[in-house]
Amino acid sequence: MPQQSFKKSNLRLSLLFLGSVLILGLISTTYSQSNLPKFSPPVLITSAGQSAEVQLAAVIAKRAGVDATLVKMATPDNLGENKTLILVLGASLKGLGAAGLDMNEEINRVKTLLAACESRNIPIICLHLGGQSRRGELSDKIINLFLPQADLALVVRSGNQDELFTKICQTNNIPLILLDRPSQAVVNFKEIFQLNSPLP
């Protein structure tokens, strides 16, 4: 009997501890999320490297209720009235081939676009949603070139195993959100675009 009450009290203590940890974790997450920069729609979504993940970004935006337009090969003309640029990082030979571009042309296009964003004070959110399989020589070139210009980065964790994103973001003082899977970004989009509920 005494042994049983000892077990019960231990169980209570453990539950109390676990509960506290969960609540503290929740508070700290909320705190860190509330510190995230905020962005305004409408949004232009484009690719840097023509990987298929650009389409993922469009679906994430749709599910979060963000007013967004996808233009895979956007130029400054597409910026129009948009107030935020989402740049999806990741090179795909298949995607570049389908777009009829080589890497240099793609890099020049994105450079021109980012320069236009800077002159018009349009903030940039960089996404890397392809994980480990969307790393490699070409993708890394794009990440190193364009990530430093971001105001916020959302990255699928498996693509950051060598902490490349962490290092670039720390060096350039860019808030970084690490995701376990791309769909988690829906919640982050709602937060940074200050949307309470998704569109029906």
């Binding site: 389409q55 993922l56 994980g131």
Partner: protein
């Protein structure tokens, strides 16, 4: 409730992992580094394929007393469930069968056919080619042949029923399995297409997003389809409820396939194509599968060149290989198509004399300025294929062999899934030429030209190597390299498969880059550049070059060795 669901999910993942990792024999565990060459071993019978669960399906059927044909069809069906992005009942293919007792080789052509209403300008609108219609559109879908071909093979050469050999595939589709990084990366690459053609609720997406590595992939709709086909026979697919669903899905996306197209589909049993390399004999598929013909051409060229002296992956070897491919592509564009409809100078193309002519065209020091086709007589055309396919090999205890390549063309095919069926329809109409004047132009009920080349290599009259690969137009280049790696450069089977690959071609007589896996030493690439090759570096192990599977049959009593490509999820097993 949530906890129960999570526990169920964990259980299913665990079960699938258990199923996929259960040893199939004492020597069949893959090494930790997937790219490290590893020969699977068996003493009597073996299956190699592009997914462990498909291999398990084939071995299970062999152990139950099925022969190589039964096991091949079980494996082919299981690939529909385990590697659905590469092949399935919505596609087609070819198989080479060796019957040990009769010492007979035969070929079953279950390649898709064009619908009856197909015509040369079907992909043109107001005189302009619409490339999208060839790949992501109802017009891209050719009449599937897989089920008819599997059923034909089983009825004529197998010993078990469709119902029996489909059981492992049904189980895989029902239970599911954890998605590999290969599956996940291909799923991400084709996300656009799946969203457009099948929507966010596609069974090939995870709640509207691509599958991540480790996610459980189940396809209950496919399980139901396979179960119904197993019960009702293939007429359910070609003439029944499924036929209606296929036609509805295709026509909804702008296609022209009819119920009559499906009802009239017949596979063909044809004579194999035979060639030689030194004291080896190659038995492979004839046209419209062009891979076999090109492998024979390439081997006939290399028969006359000092490969051993030049050395493995030497600049000379790669230079001659690339140049030979470029000349071969010129003739391919001019002559090849469906032999049921056009006359093709096959005997001349695979002759030793032709090989000598091609060698004479190659400048040993530099890249040619142009690649004119050889003059045999018929008209010109151009052709371009990119394909993603799958290959499996089976050897049974009696020595019967199947070498089977099947496909839905591009990964995830056309992206069209007939409602509630769980299977993808091919986009093999894209294998027809873009040029309406080509002998390989689309036409009523024609087979599009294929690059597949499943083969059996014989040495001194006995089966020596069973081999095949996916990879579009890289198929015959990759398979020839594997054969030469083994017979000339002395590599083991899987070493030969994992070895760095290269590829080139010509288009309208003009040189195209030399595509190479970046493991080829920089010093070799420098020399090739000096010869005039423009190098295009691909990944170290790139799916672009295919995913070959092979079985090496050792001399009497020494057993079997299996090689399975780590560029995909290749695996082998046996007993």
């Amino acid at each position: 409730m949530i906890l129960l669901k999570a526990m169920k999910k964990l259980f299913l993942i665990g079960l699938s992992l258990y199923l996929s990792l259960t040893p199939l024999s004492g020597h069949n565990q893959s090494p930790a580094d997937r790219h490290q060459p590893h020969d699977f071993q068996a003493s009597k019978a073996m299956v190699v394929a592009a997914h462990p669960l498909a291999v398990k399906a084939g071995v299970e059927i062999l152990r139950q007393g099925g022969n190589a044909i039964d096991a091949a069809i079980a494996t082919a069906a299981a690939l529909n469930a385990a590697e659905p992005f590469a092949s399935g009942i919505g596609g087609g293919g070819f198989m080479v069968i060796y019957l040990a007792q009769e010492k007979k080789v035969t070929v079953i052509n279950f390649r898709e056919r064009a619908p009856a209403a197909a015509q040369p300008t079907m992909f043109h609108l107001a005189g302009r080619l619409q490339p999208k219609w060839r790949r992501t559109h109802g017009l891209a879908v050719a009449v599937p042949g897989a089920l008819a071909g599997w059923n034909y093979a089983l009825q004529k050469y197998g010993t078990l029923s469709l119902q029996k050999v489909f059981q492992p595939a049904i189980k895989i589709a029902e239970t599911g399995f954890p998605v590999s990084s290969t599956f996940s990366s291909i799923n991400k690459d084709e996300y656009d297409k799946l969203l457009e053609m099948d929507g966010e609720n596609s069974c090939y997406l995870n709640q509207g997003f691509p599958f991540e590595p480790g996610d459980l992939f189940r396809n209950p709709a496919l399980a139901k389809t396979l179960r119904l086909v197993a019960k009702k026979g293939i007429k359910f697919f070609y003439k029944g409820e499924l036929a209606q669903k296929i036609v509805q899905a295709v026509q909804k996306k702008g296609g022209i396939m009819t119920l009559e197209d499906l009802a009239s589909y017949q596979p063909l049993e044809v004579k194999p194509l035979r060639g030689t390399y030194k004291d080896y004999e190659i038995w492979t598929i004839p046209l419209p599968g062009s891979g076999g013909l090109h492998i024979i051409q390439l081997l006939s060229i290399f028969e006359n060149l000092p490969l051993k002296k030049w050395g493995y992956l030497s600049p000379n070897y790669i230079h001659y290989f690339a140049e030979a491919l470029r000349f071969i592509f010129a003739d391919r564009a001019r002559y090849l198509g469906d032999p049921e409809f056009i006359k093709i100078p096959v005997a001349q193309l695979i002759s030793k004399k032709y090989a000598q002519k091609l060698i004479a065209k190659i400048n040993p020091k530099k890249v040619a300025e142009s690649y004119p086709s050889t003059d045999f007589s018929p008209p010109r055309h151009s052709n371009e294929t990119t394909g993603n396919t799958t290959h499996l090999c089976v050897v049974d205890e009696q020595g019967n062999i199947v070498s089977l390549t099947q496909s839905i063309n591009h990964f995830f095919g056309s992206g069209i899934v007939p409602e509630g069926t769980g299977f993808l329809l091919n986009n093999h109409m894209d294998d027809f030429s873009r040029n309406p004047n080509s002998p390989n132009a689309p036409g009523s009920r024609r087979h599009p030209l294929s690059s597949m080349g499943p083969l059996i290599l014989f040495h001194q009259g006995k089966p020596f190597l069973v081999l095949g690969s996916p990879g579009g137009t890289r198929i015959f280049s990759s398979l020839t390299q594997i054969i030469l790696n083994i017979v000339e450069f002395g590599l083991g089977l899987d070493e030969a498969i994992e070895a760095p690959r290269f590829f080139s071609y010509s288009l309208k007589g003009e040189v195209r880059p030399l595509f190479v896996e970046k493991r080829i030493p920089a010093s070799v690439l420098d020399k090739l550049q000096q010869m005039g090759h423009k190098i295009s570096l691909r990944q170290a192990y790139d799916k672009y070059f295919g995913g070959a599977q092979g079985i090496l049959i050792l001399p009497a009593g020494q057993g079997l060795r299996g090689g399975a490509d780590s560029r995909r999820d290749g695996f082998g097993g046996g007993y």
